[in-house]
Symmetry: C2
Subunit: 244 residues, 2 copies
């Protein structure tokens, strides 16, 4: 359909175009808490929201990014060095008022990565970068642009999907143990989960492969598992829901 011999931008377009950006909500679990990666915007420039913390992201580079997801992967790699995380489109936010520079629309992705000693990288346009406790940010922090709204939507999507999918497995390095996986569920859902029911649920969903016993977080070793298919989570037929 596309003809590459044409110029990328036809000169007859005279109407104003919105800005197009991509932002990434990167989650991990550190110190038994759900954390999100934020970057600080430069404080001494004419950029909007100077000094404020923001989700990593920026303008689409029509020369480098072949599509939106590639753009998101690029931004994620630039900040974390992670190559193949769980990445899912969250939605898009666009309007006249969200960026003082003009009508803009951002395409937002959310990513899950294991929370280990990742070397975080400052970007050209970010003075600082770091992990922040999600609930603390939602409660107190005022983020740049409408990123507070976006983060809230991302957390809601994550918590809601964790109720009925195997998403938390993407927060762990392989191999992981069932108690470790259970801990991820409990951290994200912020409530205890029954061990027995959890185990039968996970094992009967048939998305895990045994990799042999590994030293877990206790004296007794536990069975290690890896994902049968890393392309996406498994959907359970029911939600986790404690009997009331």
């Amino acid at each position: 359909m596309a003809s590459k011999t044409q110029p990328r931008r036809t000169p007859k377009v005279t109407f104003p175009l919105p800005f197009t950006t991509v932002d990434v909500v990167i989650f991990t679990v550190l110190d038994e808490a759900l954390q999100v990666l934020l970057v600080q915007r430069p404080g001494t420039s004419d950029d909007p929201c100077p000094g404020a913390w923001a989700l990593p992201g920026g303008f689409v580079d029509v020369g480098r990014d072949r599509d939106l997801e590639a753009c998101a992967r690029r931004k994620l790699f630039e900040k974390t060095g992670v190559v193949s995380p769980y990445l899912e489109q969250l939605g898009s936010w666009g309007g006249a008022e969200r960026d003082p520079r003009g009508w803009s629309a951002t395409h937002v992705y959310f990513a899950l990565i294991p929370g280990q000693g990742l070397p975080l990288a400052k970007g050209a346009n970010a003075t600082e970068v770091g992990w922040f406790d999600v609930d603390a940010v939602l409660r107190r922090q005022k983020l740049a642009f409408d990123h507070g709204v976006i983060l809230k939507a991302a957390v809601e999507r994550l918590r809601s999907k964790v109720e009925y999918t195997s998403l938390p497995a993407f927060l762990l390095d392989e191999p992981f143990t069932l108690p470790q996986l259970q801990k991820m569920y409990e951290v994200v859902l912020d409530r205890p989960v029954d061990k027995s029911g959890f185990r039968t649920r996970m094992l009967s969903a048939d998305f895990l492969e045994e990799t042999g016993y590994v030293a877990g977080d206790s004296n007794r070793p536990a069975m290690g598992y890896q994902l049968r298919d890393r392309s996406g989570p498994v959907v359970f037929p029911r939600t986790f829901s404690p009997r009331q």
Copy 2:
């Protein structure tokens, strides 16, 4: 955050901007079949995909559309005259190759509207407009741009959400009866649903209000219902799933 006194477009932006469009996947049920609204692209112009059928949509008008959803509502109203349907963001598709005019990103919404004698309106840029059987389109029709892929994603999202939400209620005019609602489920899911289980499920979810008996599709009148809250569907704790 936005300062309205600044010019809408700062002149210092020198890098190329992608095109920004909004498309709407409008579903209804007609003749006991799930249908989607398509428009035909003009055949005698230098527009891309001349004569092909496409989802209704087009460029964001930064002067008229205050945000993406408003843009979607405008396009939906222009085609159908419907003011307040169920409208949900589906996702966005963007890349260098999807539109021959250059790098473009589209924000896609999907809408559910009752399938009655709606007067469809041709737009300025559409030679023809009409309802099409969804499965027939997915099987045979080749749509403009990547609209085939987008329609497939929309249908998957709809069918999947219908398994565990009250979405099909938005395909009916109020008041509707439980047998009518059940029919909507059966049409979208393309399988029969047990009457007794369906009734208890709907009534125990507590999202319906009785409006008194109405003449249904049979001799015996049935209780009419309306939605307690039209802002969104109710989520059931389990999916519909026939025992195997």
